[in-house]
């Protein structure tokens, strides 16, 4: 066989391996969630298909799963929106305004994001207790927004730095205030960055476990990751089928948000601003 054919075969094989490797846990999750006997791999019982787990997850009142899902969506959307808003303002100041020691600020932000969550969660708990916010949305939204902010700021700064300065000088001459420059020119031009930041922040918050575990008490504010982890069977056993069904349902909003946003995350939007 020629070198070209080999190269194609190997590329295809590598791609296939990567896809299977990444998707295997997901496929296993789907399999278990739809199987009548979650232990079908270990015993010689036949595999049977059932939607019972899904029905239970979505309908059983004692599991509170739909409520967890709602909590997760509200908290993640709010935190992501807050992070994007604050990050845009911060990035504008850091790239466009005469702020002293910008680099120190940027690296300070980066350094802050390196604190392990576990070192913060105790103080957060005390703080939220003092505010009587335990088990509320805002107890999660604020720390989440702060937690994803460093990354958001860095991404927004890198996008804003790519936008030619003449563009905002033109907007200023055309009568814009600083906020108008940001809202009417920089944000629309940096739209891919904006959506990328929103999506990342959303996924981070949606997956977050430790803060949610410590700062919520019951279904009033508990999010999906914590909710699923605390599922319990009737006799204290781990209800794998239910957990997997819940996990499968949980991927739906994340996939939906990703699909909705990915067409906005295309680069090259600044093309045509200046000579090119």
């Amino acid at each position: 066989m020629s070198e070209e054919v080999w190269r194609r075969l190997l590329t295809a094989a590598g791609a296939l391996f990567l896809v299977l490797f990444s998707l295997a846990p997901f496929l296993f999750m789907l399999l278990v969630s739809a199987s009548g006997r979650p232990d079908f791999l270990t015993e010689s019982v036949p595999f049977s298909v059932t939607l019972e787990h899904y029905a239970r997850v979505l309908a059983a009142a004692e599991l509170h799963f739909p409520r967890y899902l709602l909590n997760s969506c509200v908290v993640s959307l709010a935190a992501a929106a807050a992070a994007v808003l604050v990050a845009s303002l911060a990035a504008y100041a850091l790239t466009r305004l005469p702020v002293p020691s910008k680099m120190a600020l940027l690296f300070g932000v980066l350094a802050l994001s390196m604190f392990p969550q576990v070192s913060l969660v105790g103080h957060l708990f005390k703080m939220m207790s003092a505010l009587h916010w335990i088990n509320t949305y805002q107890a999660l939204i604020l720390p989440y927004a702060a937690w994803v902010l460093p990354l958001s700021v860095w991404i927004m700064v890198s996008y804003f730095l790519q936008i030619p300065r003449d563009l905002d000088r033109a907007a200023q001459v055309d009568g814009c205030s600083h906020l108008q420059v940001l809202a009417r020119v920089l944000l629309p031009v940096a739209r891919p960055g904006l959506f990328a930041v929103f999506l990342l922040a959303f996924i981070f918050c949606f997956n977050e476990f430790m803060f949610a575990l410590m700062l919520t008490r019951d279904a009033a504010a508990r999010t999906v990751p914590v909710g699923i982890a605390l599922f319990e069977g009737l006799h204290g056993e781990t209800p794998w089928g239910t957990i997997m069904a819940a996990s499968a349902v949980t991927t739906v909003p994340v996939v939906a948000v990703t699909v909705a946003f990915q067409r906005h995350i295309i680069s090259g939007l600044t093309r045509g601003a200046v000579k090119g």
Binding site: D166, A170, D174, G175, S177, G272, A273
Partner: protein, 365 residues
């Protein structure tokens, strides 16, 4: 609108210390004038434009539009660009990439909160003036460089600004388009009668566009005058070298007394200085000087002539109508224009210097 700058100074603080971008600029641009700021890169001409636009604040001095003070360093009264109603055309065009051409033209009016029908009318009118009506629905990315430039100019005229500020608007266009746009820009400015401050490093552009030109060097004004003034009476060797193409020859000479008048000594030769060349200069016998001669004031001949200097042709550059010669003469490299196409490099010739229009600059100027 009349623009006045009173001893305007601009300093920037950077990591390497304080940079003086502009130093004591006094300038008066009359109503409706096409005024060009000419200088090499880094001379502060763009900074001056930013100060007038309100994108920068002066460190010292005052800027006035007619009788209105728009920036005063002493009182810290600085109007924003929005309050000044200026229009800016950038070198890179700076079109808003997310808006259509129509959106770009409408942008300043929308920000100002104009009514819809008024915006539509103004956009159509500006588009018609610049002949870009058929491009109104296109995005900037779909346009050619020349079209983008037209859109940028249309955006500038759309709202009747008090002054046009242009920062090398033609330098990204190819040579032919630049020539065409130059003429068009000048006609447009004449027709609209709006005061224009135009920055360029291209002296040909400055000469052809400007009613008056200010030559800037290292943040200070070297000379202000009409294109003709700059060409005929350059105030310094810098202006002499900068204005005119090919540039003026500046040859170091020594002055000696000759009878009643003066003569220049160039190598072993002594050339009498016509009274006209001495006018206004305080030079005396014994002084060193730079003698400025335009290439067209040097005649190159074959054969021998008494009052001509011997020279060797070191290179020949045909320029179309004329030929640019580089000559080795008394140890100096001088440029001359000739229409004799038979001259060849290495040839021995005689050059006659027409000193009636020579410019003498004191040594070290």
């Amino acid at each position: 609108m009349r623009l006045e700058l009173d001893s305007v100074t601009k300093r920037f603080r950077s990591l390497r210390g304080v940079i003086r971008a502009l130093e004591g600029i006094d300038l008066r641009v009359e109503d409706g004038e096409f005024f060009v700021l000419l200088g090499p890169s880094g001379c502060g001409k763009s900074t001056l434009l930013n100060l007038v636009a309100g994108l920068e604040k002066p460190s010292e001095g005052r800027i006035r539009f007619d009788d209105q003070v728009v920036a005063d360093a002493a009182t810290q009264d600085v109007l924003s660009p929005r309050q000044r109603n200026v229009a800016f055309v950038f070198q890179d065009y700076a079109l808003y990439p997310h808006l259509t051409v129509a959106g770009n033209l409408a942008f300043p009016l929308r920000v100002a909160g104009a009514a819809r029908p008024e915006i539509d009318r103004a956009v159509r009118q500006a588009a018609a003036t610049l002949e870009i009506a058929e491009l109104l629905d296109a995005k900037p990315a779909e346009l050619s460089g020349g079209q983008r430039q037209r859109v940028a100019i249309a955006r500038a005229i759309v709202r009747n600004p008090r002054i046009f500020l242009m920062d090398e608007p033609l330098s990204n266009l190819d040579a032919q388009l630049r020539l065409a746009m130059r003429g068009e820009l000048k006609r447009l400015q004449r027709r609209l009668g709006i005061t224009t401050l135009y920055v360029t490093h291209d002296q040909i552009e400055a000469m052809s566009l400007g009613d008056r030109i200010a030559v800037l060097r290292r943040g200070a004004i070297e000379q202000i005058g009409t294109p003709w003034d700059l060409y005929e009476c350059p105030a310094s060797p810098f202006v002499a070298r900068f204005v005119g193409s090919p540039p003026m020859n500046l040859v170091p000479v020594r002055l000696v007394a000759e009878g009643e008048g003066l003569a220049v000594e160039l190598g072993a030769h002594r050339l009498a200085l016509p009274p006209r060349a001495r006018a206004g200069s305080a030079l005396a016998p014994g002084d060193g000087a730079l003698c400025g001669l335009r290439p067209e004031q040097i005649a190159v001949r074959r054969g021998s002539a008494e009052d001509a200097l011997p020279a060797t042709i070191s290179s020949v550059e045909p320029m179309g109508r004329e030929i640019l010669l580089e000559l080795e003469c008394e140890g100096h490299l001088i440029r001359a224009l000739s229409d004799d196409a038979s001259l060849r490099p290495g040839e021995q010739v005689r050059v006659r210097l027409d000193l009636r229009k020579a410019h003498l600059f004191p040594e070290g100027a």
